[in-house]
Amino acid sequence: MLADAADPAQKAWFAADKVPLLVALAVVVAAVLGSIALARTGRPIRIRRLAGLDAVEEAVGRATEMGRPILFVPGIQDMDNIMTVAGVTILGHVAKVAAEYDAEIEVPTSRSIVMTAARDTVQAAYLAAGRPDSYNPDRIYYVTDDQFAYVAATSGMMARKKPAACFYFGCFFAESLILAENGNAVGAIQVAGTAETAQLPFFVAACDYTLIGEEFFAASAYLSGEPDQVGTLLGQDVVKAIVWFVGLAAAALGTVAALQGPDGALQPFVSAMRAAMGGGA
């Protein structure tokens, strides 16, 4: 229907059937840029509480009580992976809590650059917590790039040191299972966060708390406190809200049209809208 509205002469240079797509892109751009601008004005933007983040304090507290270390695994990918970046941001938070409680934190990494980034982050966290002397860079170390060798070494370390809290935040593949299994065996509280969809079920089944997909990025944006990141989060929420109401309206229209039957007044409109959005007839 929208496609028909375009002038035939324009079809030569403009893809008329893509008008709905253009509208959708414009809405997303407006929502995201508008929200970032709003965040930059300094207006506080509230982010809801995330159970996984609340659990950090509880887990670190327990580790302190038991006098056992905390394990943090920032995934097995390099710093070019956004999940690793988000994981290291969350590491900053965990390290700060650990510094406040004076708990020992252990960070084995699978990439040397991640080790460097993790050391910087943890050092800054200890400084912020007012305990720069307690920072020990030797507990943040590079193991090996190789996936299974990394897991074997980390598992062995877990068996020896028996961490009371294990955090897995980053990009994980098959090793997620083995890590969570070993954490369970030493009786640790486990908190995980990843956007790697294939590993989420295993984390949810084996850990006490899991930040699921977008929740993981939201936690990282919230903890980073950067207006651009928080603004982007808000912008995405705005788009989701639009999707929510458009979806609800679409279902209502579709149902009424179906109840009216194929000759009903609404049917042509519903079919045209659906087809224009790429949903078939």
């Binding site: 079809k11 030569a12 240079w13 403009f14 893809a15 893509k18 797509l21 253009l22 892109l25 997303v28 751009v29 995201v32 840029l33 970032i36 390099d78 710093m79 070019d80 956004i82 970046v85 299974f148 593949f173 098959a174 299972l177 083995i178 969570a180 299994e181 369970n184 065996a185 969809t197 079920p201 295993f202 949810v204 089944a205 084996a206 006490d208 997909g213 977008e214 990025f217 651009d228 982007t232 912008g235 995405q236 788009v239 989701k240 999707v243």
Partner: protein
């Protein structure tokens, strides 16, 4: 300075690609860029090989721990690359029987094919197959029904695991298949309902959310807000 130019390159490239979707005459710009993109992807594989070479040579020359394994990797890499580039043992092609380089590099019977079939396939295949063992061990030692959410998850997993084999048919064969009010309770039907209703709904909402996130990242790259890629490595991935 050079960082700003790089950010500009990324932004302009992204915007041009977006516009070419709507402006029909720009389609050829898009396919030309795609060709460059593809060549860059091919060269990224070369880059991957070169960086493997560099890393292992460094390990060997420094006599670092496990340098013997690095040497094995190096020999395997160079041997495979050599027989691949020179098409060792490749049967000549039917169209160009006299041409030394006429055959396909990994045609059956050639040296590269042998390496693929008898070294690469079994090792990569078995490395993946190992996950079956790990998941079994984790099943016994890690998957705990410690809260309602985990119980829901595990029960669904049971239904799917059993419903997608003959076990499901066997266990619930006593439920009549011809009474529509109850037949959906048979495990094989229940697992189909889970897929068509719950997985469809849950995954649909998730991919909508992911799409919005990807779009937001794209916008930030276009206007130069997101520069994280400048510190990043290159290369394709699989998996």
């Amino acid at each position: 300075m050079s960082r700003s130019i790089a950010v500009l390159v990324a932004g302009v490239a992204a915007v041009v690609m977006v516009l070419s979707k709507f402006i029909v005459p720009m389609e050829s710009a898009e396919t030309t860029v795609a060709e460059w993109f593809n060549a860059a992807a091919a060269i990224a594989f070369v880059l991957g090989g070169a960086s493997l070479l560099k890393m292992n040579l460094l390990t060997i020359s420094a006599r670092g721990p496990g340098w013997g394994y690095a040497a094995v990797t190096l020999v395997a890499f160079l041997a495979t690359l050599g027989v691949g580039l020179f098409k060792v043992g490749v049967p000549p092609s039917a169209a160009f029987p006299d041409h030394r380089m006429g055959g396909t590099p990994d045609a059956e019977g050639g040296a590269l094919w042998w390496i693929y079939e008898y070294l690469m396939s079994p090792i990569t295949g078995t490395l993946f197959a190992m996950l079956a063992f790990y998941v079994a061990s984790a099943a016994f030692r890690a998957f705990r029904a410690k809260n309602a959410a985990a119980i829901f998850l595990l029960v669904t997993a049971f239904v799917v695991l059993l419903g997608r084999t003959y076990a499901g048919v066997f266990v619930t064969s006593w439920i009549p298949d011809d009474v529509p009010w109850v037949s959906w309770l048979r495990l094989e039907n229940l697992s189909a309902v889970i897929m068509s209703v719950f997985t469809t709904a849950g995954t649909r909402a998730m991919i909508i959310g992911i799409a919005i996130g990807v779009a937001a990242t794209g916008i930030k790259i276009m206007i130069g807000l997101d520069r994280s890629y400048l510190g990043a490595g290159a290369g394709g991935g699989n998996g």
